[in-house]
Symmetry: C2
Subunit: 315 residues, 2 copies
């Protein structure tokens, strides 16, 4: 991608946190746009985004940022997507592509759909990349590199528009997948939403016991617990909105999880070591597949000093 | 600790995997022993341990390794501790210290206690350090650095023996805590055993669905799921033994977890965003405390390229 031929003349980022910021950085890195306009609720975020330099202009209203844009990307929490779309509706130009990065998709079609003017191409999207941090300082250009970005266009969406948005995400370093929004929500209920829910829950349980103090939990966290605290430190607003907007799929997966957990509980109570051993052997193989698929590294992260550890153990 | 004044003349390691191996490396690093004798079940492990060099002599029986040792450390799975103790009983010399590294402690007192000859000091122990790897190649000298090691001596244990074992673990880089075995088991049921159980369970659930394929789960694992797969890749034998031997405490904590999860499930079903937001805010603070306590780093690990990420976002 050469900097002299940007894919889009003007891109508008509505929301300038981790994801909006990372998109801005990635657009700059690859020269994907002639101009990046940005909007965030707070003055501080807008000023900081300009200072870091991942937007070219900051605007006091979302509509102003979206004005004349060829690509508008909504990068706000899922619950704020509908209101944001409503706000920019009058400003959207004919032929523009409107997309979002929300972690649920069926609710977005429901909430944003009504505000899409005819002639504007609305294509919901979800980059599968993130960190546990948020805000304009959290973003970086490499966030999307070799990660997936999922598009969930509604039937009838113009192929050219999907192609342009695909090229955009590829320019940001992603691989692009297309699927139905309902299937997306089911897949992410199990690979993302339920893991976060479980993590939030166990951190809540562990710090609300009578017989074990919170300081003991913190002191000995390295023995397993700490791995959940990272997920459980994710942004409260974003995650509240995810659970409120992907209710059915999350409840379905939670039902399965609880059923399986009840079976494990029985195995422990009855001392069924074979059942435990079989499950623990099966799950070990899953990790291997994830590493083989390039979705994680196999450096022994529990030690949290992986490079050193490896070199020492080879002595 | 100078290499010319070892704390113990002869140390015997019964079990030469991640923990036994790491102890061997740490003993060598600090010169804590005149001689390290090792035993493992398999010829391969014994040969590999000698080759790596974290033991000085390999023995075909545990009793032979323990013969004349001043300190004997049982580093085998919890279910093998009793049988190992029985085997070495006749070989233990008067005044020797016998300890273990098992992840549960009340069951160890029950299983090993009967085989402790009079005049031998039995002090159960548990180093709070590990990785998701196992076997003789997994160990490294730094594993215990700045981690805790918990001793759970039974009432009446000689203070001098506790002092010597404390000095040993400090020589390995650890900080030492003393607590009752029953309390230990409750604390680790929540900070370690339940997190592993939950991780095993969710990996099991996610890879056993009809509507979402295993390859989808693997492909999109980076969105949360992968963080559980590390814990769920831990050694099946070790963890089967942990759950079979800390049944009551694990079931108690699992009961609390399930109760809290049911409340979360209701909040999602009823759309109670405030309840979700409050919990997610509280759990975020817990992570902060864990980082402040030096039990984890705050590099944004979800991105899995933390150093680079940080430097880029500061540009
Ligand atoms: N974090 C992840 O791992 C991840 C991954 C994939 C997708 N997503 C999705 O990406 C979107 C943004 O997440 P993020 O991680 O970038 O969050 P973030 O870092 O917290 O940034 C959110 C941005 O949205 C703005 N905002 C928040 N509430 C708003 C409201 N009610 N109305 C208008 N603007 C509002 C914020 O403005 P101020 O700065 O002024 O507060 C901020 O600029 C969410 O829909 C999320 O589901 C996140
Ligand atoms: N891994 C952790 O994170 C961690 C942390 C703290 C405490 N611990 C505790 O440390 C102990 C050892 O764990 P590890 O991680 O070092 O395991 P590991 O790497 O799998 O090593 C286990 C060692 O014990 C031997 N062994 C296995 N089963 C045996 C049996 N039935 N009889 C005699 N020897 C047997 C193995 O012999 P072969 O090599 O010949 O198979 C191997 O040398 C366990 O009690 C565990 O609870 C583990």
């Amino acid at each position: 991608m050469s900097k002299s031929e940007p894919l889009f003349g003007r891109i508008a980022l509505i929301g300038l946190g981790l994801i909006g910021g990372s998109i801005g950085h990635a657009v700059k890195r690859a020269g994907l746009a002639g101009h990046v306009a940005g909007f965030a609720r707070s003055k501080e975020t807008r000023a900081r985004a300009l200072e870091i330099g991942f937007i070219d202009s900051a605007h006091e209203s979302a509509a102003e940022a979206a004005q004349d844009a060829d690509l508008v990307i909504l990068c706000v929490p899922v619950g704020a997507l509908g209101p944001s779309a409503k706000e920019i509706e009058p400003a959207l130009k004919k032929g523009a592509i409107l997309t979002d990065v929300g972690s649920v998709k069926t609710a977005v079609v429901r909430d944003v759909g009504p505000y899409v003017p005819s002639g504007v191409h609305f294509i919901p999207g979800h980059p599968i990349a993130g960190t546990e941090e948020s805000g304009p300082d959290a973003g970086f250009a490499e966030l999307f590199d070799n990660r997936w970005c999922i598009l969930t266009p509604v039937p009838g969406t113009e192929a050219e528009a999907i192609k342009a948005l695909t090229a955009f995400w590829e320019g940001c370093g992603s691989n692009v997948d297309v699927m139905e929004s309902k299937h997306h929500d089911l897949v992410f209920a199990i690979v993302s939403h339920l893991p976060h829910l479980i993590a939030y829950n166990i951190v809540g349980t562990a710090t609300d016991l009578e017989k074990v103090t919170q300081s003991e939990v913190i002191k000995y966290a390295a023995s397993g617990f700490r791995d959940f605290t990272r997920l459980a430190a994710s942004d409260p607003t974003m995650w509240r909105d995810v659970f409120l907007n992907n209710r059915e799929a999350v409840l379905e997966m939670l039902g399965r999880f609880s059923e399986d957990l009840a079976a494990l509980q029985r195995a422990i109570r009855w001392g069924d070591g074979d059942m435990l051993f079989d499950l623990f052997t099966r799950t070990r193989a899953v990790r291997r597949s994830i590493i083989d698929a390039g979705q994680d590294t196999d450096a022994p992260n529990f030690g949290r000093n992986p490079t050193h550890a490896k070199s020492v153990s080879k002595k």
